[in-house]
């Protein structure tokens, strides 16, 4: 069989280098809309099938205001602000958060997760950069001490 000439070379944006980064750099922010379909998709992908994340009746039955997003969905979605900026998701070597408030996801309106990031530290020795993320929903911080460390060339 002849080689497939129609296949285009993968185009991939350049990966950010250590020299490109300074303390105080602001990452492009992102607003991520979350609805029930988002959470059902995440439940399937992550195998976290706790019904508080998709069954309103169940969530209210255990004292929650409504369905809430998986904390790990919020953490994973927020990470994309860092990985989009770095240009390679494999560069994140450390990532940790505290879950400070649940993201409540009403059926009609869903929720908007707003994520921003700023470079807090750079280490020329290890070529690691530390980004602090801020994630809010309905005006409240939903992640605390959200720090991602990326190792760059």
């Amino acid at each position: 069989m002849a080689a497939d000439q129609s296949r285009t070379e993968p185009t991939s944006p350049a990966v950010r280098t250590f020299a490109d980064v300074a303390v105080g750099d602001v990452l492009p922010p992102k607003t991520i809309h979350i609805d029930r379909a988002t959470l059902v998709r995440y439940a399937g992908a992550s195998l976290d099938r706790n019904p508080i994340h998709w069954d309103e009746r169940f969530a209210k039955g255990v004292g929650l205001p409504d369905v809430i997003a998986h904390g790990m969905f919020t953490m994973g979605a927020a990470a994309t602000v860092v990985t989009d900026w770095v240009g390679d998701a494999g560069r994140v070597v450390d990532y940790g958060v505290r879950f400070t408030k649940p993201v409540v996801v009403p059926y009609e309106s869903g929720a908007d997760l707003e994520v921003s990031g700023v470079v807090k530290a750079v280490d020329p020795e290890t070529r690691r950069v530390t980004v602090e993320l801020t994630a809010t929903a309905a005006g409240e911080k939903v992640l605390g001490r959200a720090l991602a460390v990326a190792r760059l060339d």
């Binding site: 070379e9 993968p10 991939s12 990966v15 991520i32 988002t38 998709r41 995440y42 399937g44 992908a45 992550s46 195998l47 976290d48 255990v62 904390g71 790990m72 969905f73 953490m75 994973g76 979605a77 990470a79 994309t80 990985t83 989009d84 240009g87 390679d88 998701a89 494999g90 994140v92 070597v93 450390d94 990532y95 940790g96 958060v97 505290r98 879950f99 991602a148």
Partner: protein
């Protein structure tokens, strides 16, 4: 029933192998909204020096939570799952999880403590290949809300 403090320091045997697939990586990347082609296009992944498509940074939770279940489902531990909320999560990646990796997880119960009427349990799952290469350390703190 309070959480059993005797569990602090316990280490579980390595779990059965979980094989990371390109299909699960793609599904997970789509679910968290990561558009980086390194998750879906093996040619892109290889051009960046990876053996195959790699997982997003939080994918490891999928394996780690299966390890945590050994503790949470153990009746002796006294954890009421209906009262559990996720408090903190951290990942340290020694290298990215890659399609084809055959991974085992070893669960360590690092801390069991009480504060303000709630119990907090910190677990650490060491993910390694069957050959023993360390891949990721996932640390999780769950809060078990006290009865009203």
């Amino acid at each position: 029933m309070p959480v059993n403090a005797d569990f602090q320091g316990r280490v579980y045997p390595p779990t059965e192998t979980y094989t990371v697939s390109a299909a699960k990586i793609r599904e997970f990347a789509e679910a968290v909204g990561s558009a980086d082609p390194v998750h879906t296009d093996a040619a892109v992944a290889r051009s960046r020096g990876y053996a195959d498509v790699i997982a997003p940074p939080t994918f490891a939770v999928l394996i780690a939570q299966q390890c945590d279940a050994q503790l949470i489902r153990d009746p002796e531990a006294g954890i009421d799952f209906s009262r559990v909320v996720h408090g903190e999560q951290k990942f340290t990646h020694h290298r990215p999880l890659t399609a084809g990796d055959a991974i085992t997880g070893t669960l360590h119960v690092d801390a069991v403590r009480e504060a303000g009427g709630h119990a907090m349990v910190t677990t650490r799952t060491e993910l390694a290949t069957e050959a023993g290469e360390a891949v990721c350390t996932a640390t999780s703190t769950i809060v078990i809300r006290g009865a009203e």
